[in-house]
């Protein structure tokens, strides 16, 4: 499970969610097109910007990154917009960084993406 903050929240403002279709388009010589879908459904992606975290919250996110070995692992993620649970999601990248500018002033950015299963 994706770690929650001490407030119980997963995400802070500004929060960004992306819906991603995957459409192939073949254009013919006469200009007409034939389109078809590669994915049977939309795939979601969440950009999670977190600020003013304390070290325990940063550590929980760090442990989560390590246990998933970057984008290798998969986990279930609850969409903070509507509460829908997506059973197979992964971190999008192999890099996780945080910055501590003072006590309880940590910030980090993570991106979670839904896997096609």
């Amino acid at each position: 499970m994706f770690p929650t903050l001490k407030t119980g929240a997963v995400i802070q403002y500004p929060a960004k969610r992306t819906l991603q279709f995957n459409t192939d388009a073949i254009r013919f010589l006469d200009g007409t097109e034939q389109r078809f879908r590669d994915n049977p459904f939309v795939l979601r992606e969440w950009n999670i910007h977190l600020d003013l975290l304390d070290e325990a919250e940063l550590d929980a996110l760090d442990q989560f990154f390590l246990s998933n070995q970057g984008r290798f692992g998969s986990f279930s993620f609850t969409d903070p917009w509507d509460g829908t649970v997506y059973a197979s999601c992964s971190l999008k990248g192999d890099v996780s960084a945080f910055q501590l500018t003072g006590e309880m002033r940590g910030k980090t950015i993570l991106t979670v993406c839904q896997n096609r299963t």
Partner: protein
Amino acid sequence: MFYFPQLFSGATAQFPITRQRTARTVVNQSCQSYEVKLADPGAAVTAWHLSLEELSDQELAALEALFQGVEGRLTPFMFLDPVDNLLAWSEQQNQAVWQADPLLTMASRLADPLGGTGAYQLSNPTSATLTLQQTVNAPATLGYCLSLYARSDQSPRVWLVRGSENDGRPISTVWTRVISAGQLQSTAQSINFGVALDPGTTVDIFGLQVEAQTTASPYKKTTETGGVYPNARFRDDSLSITTVGPGRYSCELDIINVEHL
């Protein structure tokens, strides 16, 4: 062995600190967005960016001596992560890194003060003091802070083991965070940290943490590795120092730990 020096404040770093972890995953992606992934844990990289301000002549000299000693990015040195717990398996005292005296009994998965179930109950049924400790392969000359949460229904105190020092700390029936901090007069290349129980006592413990600084920061759970990096290196071959006044210096450093080097 070379090791990254502590500042006069006892800290290894100053704010702001940036730490970046990089994993490597081999991904085979089909045009239908199916993915086959393969992890490559040996290629993991951890990097720190440190900004040091208001360094004194002595602090700068120690830093320059390290940089010259390791010849820039050529050879490794010991780096103690300033934002991590130096102990491994901080919540699994049954792992091999922990050395428990033979008759010390342990019960795990008790409710802990942070709302989880990571606490342990240690019981000493003997008439001698028994210890649970872990050896950290880091220079004993540095200053360290050992901290843990403890409670007991019967024992008024718990002993914190920090190298050759044993500090008794009062505890009660409610969870209390106790610390033992300081610098030892030792040149050993490793140091033990742990707890010791008086004869015939039972103590609940949670959140053992060691940091190379003068006091405790919020508890951080660790698994197979703690924040000890014996093969860290400078990322660059250059070290730029800015002199902002007499005996006042600042610099920025990038340190990396690469498992496969």
